[in-house]
Amino acid sequence: MRKLILAASVWVMFFTLTGCNEKPVDPITNPEEAPVVKMVISHEFNGQRINFNSVEYATTHNLVSFAELSYFLTDFEFKKADGTWMPFAYQALIRARQTPVDTLVFTNLPKGAYQGLRFKLGVDSVNNHADPALWPNEHPLSIMRGGTMHWSWNAGYIFFKLEGRFFKDAPIQGAYSYHIGRDDLITQYTFEDISFNYNDKVVVLPMRFEAKNFFETPHQHMMRDSALFSHSAFDDEVAEILHGNMSNLILKD
């Protein structure tokens, strides 16, 4: 009798699970013919491609150079024609020093017209505090790929890392290092002035990462002894002030 009940339970579970398996809205049967959406991000300072290490750029209060610029983009959503947002599982680790112009490629979107895109600079709370060793080694959130973007002392990711040197009226010069993380310091980007038709072969969404805004907009940041680094820890006003500038970093080109 127990075996009978067990067998019946297995059949019920099987039909329940297969019954919940929704068919794709518009399956793409031939990947080679499938359209792709490419989001191309160019990393610039005041409209000029960043030249790492060798060039000094003028902010209002300092000259700065860049040694490292890395960040995570996650939680992508596309706005459909009916106005609803469709989640699209995608995470990206951008390493601008290695790839000054990075291209994120989205495939297998359901065909149709879209009129917006939104995503987060940072990692959502659940993934932020999950065990990072469980990701496949090729995944952007894996320690093997983004190890230097993970804090081990508080089990979370560094959402955004900018490091370099600053110069102003020598000898006032030195290094700066801004590591922004924490659940409350995630930054949402929403672009509702984007529209495209996913029936097209290739859709390109050009974006610009404007590093000058990190130092200028809206808060004009000045390098001082107390404001040269941030680890987003307790009592870290620098992280909170600079986080206020982070909503202006990625712009539609």
């Binding site: 065990d131 060793a133 002392w153 089990a155 924490r182 409350d184 307790f234």
Partner: protein, 342 residues
Amino acid sequence: MKWWPFLLLMALLACEDRETPKGTFSLPEIPANFPIPDSIRFLSEQSIHQIELGRALFFDRGLSRDSSVSCASCHKQALAFGDGLAFSIGAHGGSGRRNAPPLFNLFYPQLFFKDGGIPRLEEVAMAPMDDHHELDLPLQDLSLRLRTSTFYVDEIKRIYNREPDPYSITRALMWFQLSLVSANSRYDDYQYRDKKEVLNAQERRGLDLFLSAHTQCASCHSGPNFTDFQFHNVGLNMEAHLDTGRARITINPADFARFKTPSLRNLGFSAPYMHDGRYSNLEQVLAYYNGGGDGYPGQDARIKPLGLTEKELEDLEAFLYSLNDSVFVNHAAYQPLGGSQD
């Protein structure tokens, strides 16, 4: 001068191939009613393989950037896997910023580290790996280094069917730490083996004091591991060495200077004491609490002058020493494969 070939050679030598473990690991004897998960009490063959791999890693100096220190350099078995220093010495001679905790009975659910910043035992080893003052060899770098070792490549392939990577390394080290079971103190004989005669009269007076409403020791140092795993501000003066404690993680000012209640097991081996190792012996710790603390802002209200006599303090100290587990600090299976301590 080109120094990188020398460093590469050092790294390769540090991860030198060694004899494959023979499955010899065994736990110390555990009292039948000692609270411990069955997955630890009855280790599977797969768990034993992981423990032995973790043991190899734990004692391997190749886990540090300059191959100068291993996990065992700061977590010494003879000291209940603690360190005898207030702040441990890491790679390049760097110094840690908190007293290295002793390691045992890590299978109880808890947040790890004194500020509770780490939610899982699997991730505990990542912090010293990342810290420039400790091992200074992040997991991705360590993974690549271990891929040059036939021993680690073969063992990890055999156990996890993958190459050395963050998953395999963290699991192996987790299992070795899980295997560190301390359940053979005289108090354990008294409590879990029902040998009431093993505690002498002085120790039993100390136990009574420990459990009393007057001292309230057991209100935080509770349960089988003598900790509630909660975070408390015991009022230590921070002027010489500021540490924000739990607030560093939660960003909550109410958590300022709160630290996780440490276990009292193996106290006799694990001096110095407090989060910064400021007290070198147990008498100083007891005198601190008997005096009602330093009164630093946020001090827990339960810490107030106790007025214990010298004799009562001696009784309390005698009881605390009954929590020492000599079997644990001498257990052969916790030593490196070659038998020599780091």
